[in-house]
């Protein structure tokens, strides 16, 4: 009985993950510039990867494989912001101007100084 509940839960997580993966990919195709595309890519890295790996952990049960999957999740959660930051920093410092609705960079500087 509890086996079925865990199965249903893990399948729900995997379906949710598949949905967010495809939505994130649609976002990567639809958004207009690099920075907004990065937001869409970060969905697939957090919610997509997180839910799929949690679903797999529930399928694996209390084994060494589950611990390894958890380790993969931890690695992804530590490395994905670092590479996003490096990408955004490199793009902006090499002069790729973002399409902006509001640029609050200078406002903030004046009000803080």
């Amino acid at each position: 009985m509890s086996g079925t509940i865990i199965d249903i839960l893990s399948w729900a997580l995997i379906i949710l993950g598949a949905f967010s993966l495809i939505t994130g990919a649609v976002g990567v195709l639809r958004f207009p510039d690099v920075y907004t595309r990065m937001h869409a890519a970060s969905i697939t890295d957090t919610l997509g990867a997180g839910t799929i790996i949690l679903g797999l952990i529930l399928q694996a049960g209390l084994t060494l494989v589950a611990a390894k999957l958890l380790l993969i999740l931890v690695f992804i959660f530590f490395t994905s912001p670092a590479s996003s930051f490096a990408l955004a920093h490199a793009a902006l410092s090499s002069g790729v101007e973002p399409i902006l609705d509001a640029d609050l960079r200078e406002d903030d500087k004046e009000s803080s100084s």
Binding site: G17, A18, L21, I22, A25, V28, R37, F75, A91, V96
Partner: protein, 93 residues
């Protein structure tokens, strides 16, 4: 169920590839390739379960690390044309 997840991952990877081919800037391509790499990690893990060989997670673990290092290395090469230098002298944006 694992087959469905694999299909979703494949669709995601195809869309990431389309973005990587269309560009237009080099950074769009790197975003797409970085995303593609994370999807490969998930793909290896899911395929391990689909084929009944969960030992594949070891490979996924190594790939998760390589993907990060690869992205940083490609960015550094495109920005400075050189992997060996240290760059502490950057101006704040």
């Amino acid at each position: 169920m694992f087959a469905a997840a694999t299909a979703a991952l494949l669709i995601t990877m195809i869309m990431a590839l389309i973005r990587a081919i269309k560009g237009p800037s080099i950074y769009d391509r790197i975003v797409a390739v970085n995303m593609f790499g994370t999807k490969i990690v998930l793909m290896i893990a899911v395929l391990g379960f689909l084929m009944g060989r969960p030992e594949f997670t070891d490979i996924a673990l190594v790939y998760a690390l390589i993907n990060f290092v690869g992205t940083i290395a490609v960015l550094k090469v495109f920005k400075y044309g050189d992997l060996a230098r240290a760059h502490d002298d950057e101006e704040p944006l």
